[in-house]
């Protein structure tokens, strides 16, 4: 009697163990995905991948294709496509514990789209690499780097914690990070950059540029930028501007330094102001700084050439410096 009972328990346990192991191995195998749809050449595409790595590339035919492996915790995916609009999402459970005990496999996807499509991407802990999309791009992530190249039209790349690296972007550009760096090279069009904590390094031919930084420095090499606005709270801004004689520049800082390097034949009215004693340094002309009579402020006003452009810089305590290239 006793032995039968034991063996029943034993058998039951064994069955349970086998069942359990089956469940584990099923969960262990990540879901492979390889889906394509025929779409239009200027398809509007919306993508949602909560975590992982996503590479977006362009193809020569009018196909939308997503391939790779889905997040281990994913419940599936949704892909619908018709009438010029395609939507793809990796379906995740409502509560995902990101700092989980064991590191589960995240999505690893490659998405190929028609070059003329317009992409909108949203994710949380995800790295995105996108190239060649000409219809417009919008990427929003929380944690993760964004790498973008050869994009045109409206390009908006935003992350909270992450670096943005952009190359050869043309159109209306908007790059923003809270904690991270922005590196942009060979861009054209109109560009806006913002970093709260982090550095911005720009080498651009954009005609209009606006840069805002709170804590962090800005280094900008600008070719032919006729309208420039730079703003910092504590960070230092260093701009070298070439190939434009009468730029329209405005800059303001609280305690950071602004150093502006301009072509030797610059033709503009200059107005520099520091409110609480920041030094004003002029290497362009011999005009001198005037101290305010009733307070700690300093001003520097002068004109070169016909005074066609204008350069307005102001600081509270930061140093403002003008030089020639």
């Amino acid at each position: 009697m006793k032995s039968t009972k034991t063996s029943w328990v034993g058998a039951a346990t064994l069955v349970l163990l086998i069942a359990f192991t089956r469940v584990i191995s099923a969960a262990d195998a990540p879901m492979v995905i390889d889906e394509s749809r025929q779409v239009s050449s200027n398809e509007r595409i919306e993508l949602e991948v909560m975590r992982g790595e996503v590479v977006i590339r362009t193809g020569t035919d009018n196909t939308f294709r997503v391939s790779g492996t889905l997040d281990e915790l994913a419940e599936g995916f949704e892909l619908r496509s018709d009438n010029g609009f395609t939507y793809f999402e990796v379906e995740m459970p409502r509560n995902v514990n990101n700092s989980g005990f064991r590191r589960s496999e995240e999505s690893d996807l490659e998405i190929v789209v028609p070059a003329g499509s317009r992409i909108s991407f949203i994710g949380v802990n995800v790295e995105v690499d996108i190239d060649g999309v000409t219809g417009g791009t919008q990427i929003n992530t929380v944690n993760g780097d964004i790498s973008a190249s050869n994009l045109t039209e409206r390009v908006e790349l935003r992350t909270v914690n992450g670096n943005i690296t952009a190359r050869n972007i043309g159109g209306r550009i908007d790059l923003q990070t809270v904690n991270g760096e922005i590196r942009d090279s060979d861009s054209a069009g109109r560009a806006y950059y913002e970093a709260v904590n982090g550095e911005i390094d720009i080498d651009s031919a954009a005609g209009e540029v606006e840069v805002t930084v709170v804590n962090g420095s800005v280094r900008a090499q600008l070719r032919g930028t006729s309208d420039l606005s730079v703003n910092s709270v504590n960070g230092d801004i260093d701009v070298v501007l070439t190939d434009v004689t009468s730029p329209r520049i405005s800059g303001s800082t609280v305690s950071g330094e602004i150093t502006l390097s301009l072509p030797a034949d610059v033709d503009a009215r200059f107005s520099l102001e520091s409110h609480v004693g920041g030094n004003l340094v002029n290497h362009i002309t011999d005009d001198e700084v005037v101290r305010s009579r009733y307070g700690p402020g300093r001003n520097l006003d002068f004109s070169t050439g016909q005074g066609a452009g204008h350069v307005d810089l102001s600081s509270v305590t930061g140093r403002l410096e003008l030089r020639t290239n």
Binding site: S99, N161, N197, E199, N215
Partner: protein
Amino acid sequence: MSADNTSAIRRAQEGDRQAFHLLYQQHIGRVYAVCWRLLGDRQKAEDASQESFVKVWQSLPDFKGDSSFATWLHKIATRTAIDCWRRDKRLSFVEPETVDGLTELGGQTTAADNDDGRDLEQAIQRLPAQAKAVFVLFALEGYQHNEIATLLNIAEGSSKAHYHRARQLLRGFLSEE
């Protein structure tokens, strides 16, 4: 001594630079230590130390006297050092282990007064960036993992993992010939 300190703090809050000089002298040792250990380079540590004190000077009006001044000042210095460290980390593509100047400990004569101490300082500088930061903050500066998570903007679990790894690596380095 603490009575003098309170008056120095108050005078510094009102803009008295001599009083601030006093506070600087009292605290530069600890500030420089954390800066140097995090940044591994004499020049950077000096810059970071100065930046810390400028921030302290600017923040003095906000010090309400409800906590220890030393703790308050040190928190500012640590955050400043971490900001410098973060900037530094991003700019350098070379891992600390391969920097030559390390044999001279980044130009700094270590305050450690024996071989073991010097070995440990060197070993700490060989740690990978994140692990080093966590180790310095936990084992030397006395922060808890949840505080380190906030300071470095990482998960608490990551902080613990980095610390564990740092200890393993250090034990290994110290056992090398």
